[in-house]
Subunit: 560 residues, 2 copies
């Protein structure tokens, strides 16, 4: 009772106060008319309203209009709801870049559920771990992955609804694993399903497991607000014009395709599906569909450059390609430009819901030599419009390092496009958000121009005789050698120095080179202590997203 | 005590429950690392980081770089803070489109204050009313308005800080009214002022008084979240490319220049200032600065079209012009296209923080005749990406009308770009948000294509013999007459019919026409009951933003 009385007194007192500026605005609060939760799902109904007959999705000979795409998404949401999928449930999808994957980016959140896209290169054990950890209620999968998804489903203890995509474009092996085929399942859904925006814009929309190069994969939770803003950021940073034609050379399972399943729809563009990254398909598709935009790791760019002449096609229109995952080597940029591509380098990571910086071109780069311009373009660049804080800082204090292009620090990020956190892993979430900043684990320098340049992953730095050696710097030297197709440098334990750099080089086809040649090359291009003690030739293992698997190489380095 | 016990029991029960999907996500909440308040103010530090040397503002021979612009904004924020301006205080500005007005869009919110831009055509009484109602602490004004601002300041009871802009480009009459000149005042501020984002993104950023064609002006409160999203909406709906060159033909006092002071900075573009809309200045500026984008009411377009040949300049690059306030007449669109402009029609209002729909072009319009295409382009169109709900509905029930292109309803809007409400006017705020929708007061039909077409302002509809007559429809017929420069139709009280349409026509220079001719013209173009009973020739009064002042004409109609 005393408490209630006190409250009453306070209200009376407030009324007696003279009008202060704070009181001036106090009654003005957001409500139903002037507040709506931000969600990228909203882009689809709008596109369907405005351009119902426009082609939203191209897949082989199949054409899906925006009206059709919205109908498919609502049917999927309804079909899931009918099978008991509820708010906050996880729907997993292990799919190539096919229409069902695009449907899932809208239909799953329209059912209030969370989309968990699974890396298609994973093994059965890891897939089973993810399905268990995410407590997935549904698995949508393509026949092509039956040989791993089948065993994965057998391992998990619960029975979940399995929906098979049986794509007419895929005629290879792989049986159906579930009780229903995707297109049949869609038909069970109501095309007029009355979906709702999430009550809370900071609620989960997607769940992406990190590739797990060390330890168990972590479940990165994406939120509606963040993915809406990231989608807008893609548009304003590139920038993406109205009605782009977007070719899916980036896997949609990777950070939800950097949020492009949503960005492209916001601009009422056309998605061109692609089951596998194959230059023999890509070049003709660019010409046939008038592709204007695409994304991919530098390895995708390398594939296009190395494509045999008979696979290449000339195209008259500019094709914009956004690349990230690792810095694009100078000769890759140059070769891509010669093919007619306009390259933009971005930096991001799963925890950032896609790109976070872009290497925004400067007008004065036009006067640089090709080599110097490529050096600039390979930097990670500057923050997206939608990213609030982006510094190179001390990992402990989170204070920025000097912008001198020399002092190394960790890339630290603050803002709405940072993930919500790791699923069921408060410890890792707390650690990665220590000090109120997202710790990327990437070591970089900060240039006076404000551009950030990554020197290494925190765990990839080589400490030799007490000196830091950036594996990236050694790799850049290796890439300059004309015989190099791919290069990677890792630490090798050493009795004298603690660690020494060990180089792995994949040579171009039909080219030969020796270890001695490469070591000599490095001596001419690097400080003495940075020169690799060992050079190993062979195919370099990469992840599904084109990243070099350094943990595999570190293992190998121990043995050579 | 009973209540507390009950609560405790409930918590225990919840802990005993098996893990439900809701629990899965419960610990993941936005915090410092992954949440930042949305504010358009954030665009300026980013642009200054990335393009410090780029020209942000052009004013006569003056060039302000992005580093300089950011410094000016911080100095303004600091100077205001030093003079006691606190969070939530109102800073008024009555300025032409000069650099100080751009500074104010950043510096005022950086001080935590609210920017109140005042319509430069207002009289002393109304200005005094606004300063009193807004409880303004500061007035930034330009010498050119001294003859009204002086008397306005004399009328208000408080002493406020008056800062004069003494623009070297203005050499006309008007004394300084305050104690300090703007550039001197700026110098008192700290260029490193440590400003902060607002704690609450739904807090006020700006205050715009409606033109007050009926009753007292109402103070429309803009919020950080809404103006951030509106700024992004401008970019994605037009869409606006990187580094636009934006000419200020739209007054910045009008809905904060439709949020373009922020949008242009988000894209690191260049603001080209303009003190007055004068074709003799505009055409050479388009050529000299390579202007790519501009905005204005259809009357601005008419001025450009009617400019004498010696004032016109040819330009090779496309210039995009966004127009709104009233539908652009077909011949205005056609003439603008012939001059080399690309016209996009938008619809918005003060309460919507700028444009809310755009008349997004459809690919099949290319096959239409010029006349038919202009009819399509004059529709209000479809919602911005950032607008959640946009319907033509029953004002009472807020249920949508059929999309038949015939049934009239009110344009009702929901979403983040809707104002926070009216300052110190709970009754009007409640009324305009009735049913959880913003009631625009505009009557429209909804086409099967989803495009909205305004038929009239609610208060401008003419009810004649029980039949509704859209004043807009009659105006369209009048505009088709080759002698018409401007046309407006209002109701005239009539004993027999209740009301009848009364037409006001401003003829083109050097052209003559009679009332009988116009009535005959309307008979051939309209249903009989819609034909004006009276046609009055003369100059049509418009507001500062180019809108016809119908309340003046209604007054006149009573006397003719």
């Amino acid at each position: 009772m005393a408490k209630a009385e006190k409250k009453k007194v306070r209200i009376v007192a407030a009324r007696k106060e003279p009008r202060t500026p704070r009181n001036l605005w106090a009654s003005l609060k957001p409500g139903r008319a002037n507040f709506a939760p931000l969600s990228p799902v909203s882009f689809l109904p709008r596109a369907a309203e405005i351009h119902p007959e426009r082609v939203a999705v191209v897949h082989g000979k199949q054409r899906i209009t925006y009206a059709g795409f919205y109908e498919r998404a609502r049917r999927l949401a309804s079909a899931l709801a009918k099978r008991g999928v509820k708010k906050g449930d996880v729907v997993s999808a292990m799919l190539p870049n096919v229409p069902a994957m695009l449907d899932a980016h809208y239909g799953v959140p329209m059912a209030g559920a969370v989309l968990n896209t699974i890396n298609t290169r994973l093994d059965a054990d890891t897939i089973a771990y993810i399905l268990e950890h995410a407590e997935a209620k549904v698995m949508i999968t393509d026949r092509v992955y039956a040989n791993v998804v089948g065993p994965a489903l057998a391992k998990i203890k619960r029975k979940i609804l399995v929906v098979d995509v049986d794509d007419p474009l895929y005629t290879g092996p792989g049986e159906r694993l579930g009780e229903t085929e995707y297109e049949v399942f869609l038909k069970t859904g109501d095309p007029q399903f009355a979906w709702k925006l999430p009550a809370n814009e900071s609620g989960p929309i997607a769940l992406n497991y990190t590739s797990g190069t060390t330890g168990l994969p972590k479940g990165v939770v994406y939120h509606h607000r963040g993915t809406f803003l990231e989608s807008m950021g893609n548009i304003t940073a590139w920038p993406m014009p109205a009605k782009p034609v977007y070719l899916w050379t980036l896997p949609m399972f990777h950070c939800n395709g950097w949020c492009y399943p949503w960005s492209v729809v916001a601009m009422c563009g056309t998605h061109v599906c692609l089951r596998a990254v194959d230059p023999a398909l890509i070049f003709p598709m660019i010409v046939e569909h008038g592709v204007t935009h695409m994304c991919g790791a530098p390895t995708v760019l390398s594939m296009l450059i190395s494509a045999p002449a008979e696979q290449r096609r000339k195209f008259a229109h500019p094709v914009h390609i956004m690349t990230g995952g690792s810095p694009p080597p100078a000769k890759v940029i140059q070769a891509m430009e010669e093919l007619g591509f306009q390259v933009l380098h971005i930096y991001g990571m799963t925890e950032l819901q896609g790109p976070s910086t872009s290497c925004e071109p400067q007008e004065n780069w036009a006067s640089l030599s090709m080599g110097d311009r490529c050096v600039e373009m390979a930097k990670q660049g500057v923050r997206y419009q939608v990213v609030e804080g982006h510094i190179v800082g001390d990992p402990k204090t989170c204070k920025p390092v000097p912008q001198d292009g020399k002092t190394m620090g960790e890339i630290l990020i603050q803002g709405n496009t940072v993930m919500l956190g790791y699923l069921k892993d408060r410890k890792s979430t707390r650690e990665v958000f220590q000090g109120g900043w997202m710790h990327t684990g990437d070591l970089a320098v900060w240039h006076p121009s404000n551009y950030i340049e990554i020197k290494d992953r925190k765990k990839d730095i080589i400490i030799s005789g007490g000196e830091n050696i950036s594996s990236v710097e050694v790799e850049i030297a290796l890439y300059k050698h004309p015989a190099t197709l791919l290069a990677a440098v890792v630490s090798k334990p050493d009795e004298k120095w603690g660690e020494t750099p060990c180089a792995f080089v994949q040579l171009k086809e039909g080219v030969a080179a020796t270890e001695a040649e490469y070591i000599e090359w490095c001596r001419n291009n690097l400080a003495r202590f940075k020169v690799p003690k060992k050079v190993v030739f062979g195919v370099i293992p990469t992840t599904a997203t084109g990243k070099v698997q350094k943990y595999v190489l570190r293992e190998r380095a121990r043995g050579v």
